[in-house]
């Protein structure tokens, strides 16, 4: 079977074409599949500005969203709702820096924008492993399903 399909140039081109077709179809699915709606937030424009500042200061060199980013600083996906943290804590750090995080001399407007961006990330889902449970198949699921898109 393997020899018959992959032993000829036409068979190889056919398999390649099929894979490419499936890839493009899956790509379209990824682009259009449901995600938690955070776009309806009242301060969407401000959050977008916060996202640009996040990129301009290269915050992802040290911080993560959903565990993706650098590991020198903490994951900030849910910093706005974390016990003992929240907006006041975030503002204080953004205003002054810490022993390891430089003071970026951010203006009040910049800090407002970054806070809005962090609120958006907090509303999009949960990243800590304590929020997940495993099924018999080895897959993980959020314990609280309210943010998972419905199939």
């Amino acid at each position: 079977m393997l020899d018959r399909v992959l032993g000829t140039a036409i068979g190889i081109k056919l398999v390649y074409g099929c894979l490419l077709g499936c890839f493009l179809f899956f790509t379209a699915f990824v682009y259009t599949s449901e995600v938690p709606e955070t776009a309806a937030l009242p301060d969407q424009e401000l959050a977008l500005r916060g996202k640009h500042i996040w990129q301009e200061k290269n915050c992802s060199a040290c911080h993560q969203f959903y565990g993706l980013g650098g590991y020198l600083g903490p994951d900030v996906t849910n910093v706005m709702s974390a016990k003992g943290k929240g907006e006041g804590y975030v503002r204080a750090i953004l205003e002054n820096g810490t022993a390891t995080m430089p003071d970026f001399n951010l203006s009040v407007k910049d800090i407002d924008a970054l806070v809005a961006y962090l609120i958006e990330s907090d509303r999009s889902g949960k990243s800590g492993r304590e929020h997940f449970e495993k099924d018999y198949f080895g897959q993980i699921h959020l314990k609280d399903q309210t943010n998972i898109p419905q199939q």
């Binding site: 399909v5 190889i12 290269n58 060199a61 040290c62 993706l68 390891t100 898109p149």
Partner: protein, 453 residues
């Protein structure tokens, strides 16, 4: 295609390797003294300088291999396209590193530079694709293509596609939703890494064919099956980067199932292990083959790790820890860099004057030192990752500063081994650069390595 541009590209790649390793070593030191170095050597600059230098090492050297190994077509056109491609990529690389050095960002993780510079990289790859196409059309194949040509083609096509995809965040539909944006970002990154792996693996297979003088392997149905399995993973397994992201279950289950097909690759490696050992014995006197042998060991180690990390129930604990960094370092240094060094040493032997015995000795020392250090480095990162996972699972609210203090012994391990790794790689890069630049003929009594190919 064009040999001189091939060597120019490889030499540039080697310089980026040295730069990347030095930035990486400084990054390791920063982990030990974050407070003291906070303003002197900001990590926001060091990390992108390190990562981008290494990416450019891979791109320049893999592309250099293509120029050396592909059929040559009309010299003038090939040279023009090649030079244009090289200049665009070089301009982009220098501008990008310059931006990082002065603190101009605006992109995202791994491509942190202002997005406009991406145009240079994309155009450079379009010229490469054109050159590749012209080269193959100039000398049409009489029989079916060997697998390495398919790999090169896939590498170029998927790089262009995924690179463009990684900029979809500029469109409001994507950037306005954090989750969709992150899903597309990591989809494109997964395929980008897969695309340059295709370029590297293609060159590695080409060199293997030349060393062993066996033309059947690169054309056998089983080799094509493994190639398609790799391509299948490049296309569909990237979801294992973000099992905790609230995306559709279809994406998460597809990633899980597709990642598990890598077990077939693992099975093949174990099945062929004895054969690989006897081959390693047969060709152990060949310098490129030594690089292949160590890459084989790193492939086995990292594949086992990748398969484990792709199981969501395990990934839940490894994700967001230094285990991920260990995997990235193990694959980039242990596999990609060793395969590229094999390709460069083959090119130096085949198309330049090869190495003198003293150079071979230094290269061997560099090889042993870098790989022994990489093992310590890799284990230290795994240790840091596992410790972090245990501490965070026991106490999800553990303060980050306290967590980092607990990991300090592992950081000392990886920073210290980083120096050994840097010394070994710089030693090898220096000898390879010497062999590329030096066009003087090596005395006959010193040509043992040359004669073996």
């Amino acid at each position: 295609m064009s040999r001189s541009i091939g060597f120019l590209s490889i030499a540039t790649g080697l310089c980026f390797l040295v730069a990347g390793i030095l930035f990486g070593t400084l990054g390791g030191v920063f982990y030990l003294f974050p407070q003291e170095l906070r303003d002197l050597l900001p990590f926001t600059k060091l990390r992108p300088l390190h990562v981008s230098s290494i990416i450019f090492w891979i791109l320049f050297t893999a592309i250099g291999g293509l120029y050396l190994y592909l059929p040559r077509h009309k010299a003038k056109l090939a040279n023009k396209l090649g030079l244009g491609q090289y200049m665009l990529l070089f301009t982009a690389a220098i501008a990008i590193l310059g931006c990082y050095a002065v603190g101009i960002f605006g992109g995202r993780e791994y491509w942190e530079y202002p997005p406009v510079l991406g145009i240079f990289i994309a155009t450079s790859f379009i010229l490469l694709a054109l050159n590749f196409y012209k080269g193959l059309r100039h000398k049409p194949a009489l029989e079916k293509w060997p697998v390495y040509r398919w790999m090169w083609l896939s590498g170029i096509v998927f790089f262009l596609f995924s690179f463009a995809e990684s900029y979809l965040w500029l469109i409001p539909y994507f950037k306005q939703n954090l989750v969709r944006d992150m899903a597309v970002q990591w989809k494109s990154y997964g395929a980008l890494v897969g695309s340059w792996n295709m370029l590297i693996n293609g060159s590695a297979l080409f060199v293997m064919e030349k060393i062993s003088n066996d033309k059947t392997t690169a054309r056998s149905p089983l080799t094509f099956f493994m190639f398609f399995l790799g391509l299948f993973n490049l296309m569909f397994n990237w979801g294992h980067h973000f099992y905790n992201l609230p995306v559709s279950n279809t994406i998460r289950y597809t990633a899980y199932l597709v990642s598990m097909t890598e077990l077939l690759i693992l099975a093949k490696i174990i099945w062929n292990w004895r054969n690989s050992l006897s081959q390693a014995q047969k060709y152990k006197h060949l310098l490129p083959y030594r690089f292949f042998t160590v890459a084989d060991i790193w492939i086995l180690l990292n594949l086992v790790m990748a398969i484990l990390m792709s199981v969501p129930a395990i990934n839940l604990y490894t994700h967001g820890t230094h285990v991920t960094v260990a995997h990235a370092m193990g694959t980039t240094i242990g596999i990609n860099t060793m395969l590229l060094l094999a390709s460069v040493s083959y090119a130096c032997i085949k198309f330049r004057n090869g190495f003198s015995l003293s150079q071979v000795k230094l290269l061997n020392r560099g090889l042993y030192l870098s790989n022994a250090s990489l093992l310590v480095f890799w284990l230290a990162l795994i240790g840091a990752g596992v410790t972090k996972a245990i501490l965070q699972t026991d106490n999800p609210e553990i303060p980050h500063a306290f967590l980092m203090q607990q990991l300090a012994p592992w950081f000392i391990g990886f920073a210290a081994s980083g120096f050994g790794l840097a010394a070994g790689i710089i030693l090898m890069a220096g000898q390879l650069l010497r062999a590329i630049i030096n066009r003087r003929r090596i005395p006959e009594q010193n040509q043992r390595q040359l004669q073996t190919l």
